[in-house]
């Protein structure tokens, strides 16, 4: 579990950093971000670009494969609206 936790914490942090930069640029907003060290370099310069190049299906597969509550038994998705009851 420790690897899954480490990966979640760091990938979430750095993927968000990259997305914040891009979305802020899109809206012409300032985006001051704290400086990051070697780990930041790895996740921002290597991990994030590779992650972004992978097809969403592959990324989703990897995300789903990680251990966690989402892999336990959960109620089925609510049904689509079926139209008037009467």
């Amino acid at each position: 579990m420790r690897f899954a936790r480490w990966l979640r914490v760091n990938s979430e942090h750095y993927l968000l950093m990259a997305a914040q930069r891009d979305v802020a640029t899109r809206y012409g907003q300032p985006c001051r971000q704290a400086r990051e060290g070697l780990k930041g370099w790895f996740f921002l310069r290597l991990f994030t670009p590779i992650y972004r190049r992978l097809p969403w299906r592959l990324r989703a597969f990897v995300l789903q494969s990680m251990p966690g509550s989402h892999r336990q038994t959960w109620a089925a998705r609510a049904r689509q609206p079926l139209g008037p009851a009467v």
């Binding site: 968000l16 907003q29 001051r32 971000q33 704290a34 251990p67 989402h70």
Partner: protein, 442 residues
């Protein structure tokens, strides 16, 4: 002998579980252990007492201690559970021996992530959680001239607003680029930050906290951009799940750090349930585990845990997380994914926005309301939304959460019916306008 459930933690999850267990098992015994002086109050209201919107802390208590005793819920205050023995089915109490159980429910909540810098032992650092400490701190605030709020998290936004409302010179520092940037999009938060500027708040983004500096008591907060004077530092770091008791006993946790549970709030050990901020549950769109939701999530999870522990059957469903809050002079809110989080995960989406109004344009008190909708490109089913306005956010967030859950499409929303009544609804519903604008881009 009547079956006994032990609940560890007296917050929303724990009290919800205790009450539900008693309902499912009327002859059963339920004991709640809490290390605090009180149980069953709304810590979410604390910032609003500090900000003088709520007149007193007493209003935050859900019920009296006597009321719980009358219901057969035995709450042991200031009693710390030191360890669990899942094989022997006992809990060990600090200085009070062991107590056996038939069912165990962990509702141990969260702890604020450690700032991890020197000076955390200084006086003048406030962690908003315990109502008795909040009562003491509220008196301290009368003499505070300058406060620094560490991190612009949901609590951070509330405390910044409360302190500024109280006339305290307020600074907020965060290594992230804007307030609530792990959840909310920048243009959604911009009006909040503009109103903070009007209220005199000083924002310092992209700065790293380096130390709390002082001599016994805080004097300054040192950051990567310099030192800020401070009579008080309010620590609003992320909510880390408090799972130490359970993990020491062998319970499994997931990538968020919260206990792994199923839809009946069962953990990896037989007869042991968990609920609230100490667990992770799946987000219904995307199926990713999330942790650290709201008090309403903790309470409903507690009820599910209590019913199942009591021999009943109730299933909790994946969450869609409608959220909303007042920050500065604005309300912000949303559901599931915003643009920034969708970009971060790389979820494909199409997007539409609209600037609408909350009442008829001619009705006094009409407020602006911006809606942003995200949808899955192929099916146009809604996957998220973000909003900013000065009224009508909560109702729309609740509605849009159900829309995401049931797979409602942008086309459904574009042609939705809406209440039109001048004091409470505009001719054109902003959600519908945003959906129409999205369709126009396709």
């Amino acid at each position: 002998m009547a079956p006994r459930a032990i609940v560890v933690g007296g917050g929303a999850g724990g009290i919800g579980a205790a009450g539900a267990y008693k309902g499912a098992q009327p002859d059963g015994e339920v004991i709640v252990f809490t290390e605090y002086e009180d149980a069953a109050y709304s810590p979410c209201g604390i910032p609003y007492v500090h900000g003088k919107e709520i007149p007193n802390f007493e209003a935050l208590f859900l019920a009296t201690k006597e009321a719980y005793a009358e219901q057969g819920i035995d709450i042991r205050y200031e009693t710390r559970v030191a360890s669990l023995d899942l094989e022997a089915a006992t809990v060990s109490l600090d200085g009070q021996g062991e107590v056996g159980y038939d069912r165990l429910i962990l509702a141990t909540g969260f702890e604020y992530a450690d700032p991890g810098v020197p000076g955390t032992d200084l006086d003048g650092l406030y962690y908003v959680k315990n109502i008795r400490r909040a009562m003491e701190w509220d008196k301290v605030l009368d003499d505070v001239k300058v406060a620094v709020v560490v991190e612009a998290t949901p609590l951070g936004l509330e405390m910044v607003t409360a302190l500024a409302h109280r006339g305290i010179e307020t600074h907020v520092i965060d290594h992230r680029p804007w307030a609530l940037s792990d959840l909310a999009d920048p243009e959604i938060v911009q009006p909040v930050e503009d109103s903070w500027t009007e209220m005199g708040v000083k924002m310092h983004y992209g700065v790293t906290l380096e130390a709390f500096v002082g001599d016994g008591r805080i004097r300054t907060v040192r950051t990567s951009a310099g030192e800020l004077p401070a009579d008080l530092a309010v620590i609003c770091t992320d909510k880390a799940p408090n799972t130490a008791l359970g993990t020491a006993a062998g319970l499994k946790t997931g990538p968020t750090g919260g206990f792994i549970v199923d839809n009946r709030m069962r953990t990896s050990a037989d007869g042991v349930f968990a609920c609230g901020d100490c667990v992770e549950v799946p987000l219904g769109v995307g199926n990713l585990p999330v942790q650290g939701l709201s008090g309403s999530h903790a309470y409903s999870q507690g009820k599910v845990a209590g019913i199942n522990a009591g021999g009943g059957r109730r299933e909790y469903q994946p969450v869609y997380v409608p959220w909303g809050m007042v920050a500065g002079l604005w309300m912000i809110g949303g559901v599931a994914y915003g643009e920034t989080v969708a970009e971060a995960l790389g979820i494909p989406y199409v997007m539409g926005t609209a600037q609408g109004i909350s009442r008829a344009r001619y009705y006094p008190g009409v407020k602006s309301l911006k809606v942003k909708l995200l949808a899955e490109p192929a099916s146009l089913r809604l996957i998220g939304a973000q909003m900013v306005g000065q009224e009508g956010i909560k109702e729309r967030a609740d509605f849009l959460a159900m829309a995401v859950k049931t797979g409602i499409t942008i086309e459904d929303l574009a042609y939705m019916e809406n209440v039109y009544s001048p004091p409470i609804g505009a001719l054109n519903e902003p959600i519908a306008l945003a959906a129409q604008n999205l369709l126009a881009t396709l």
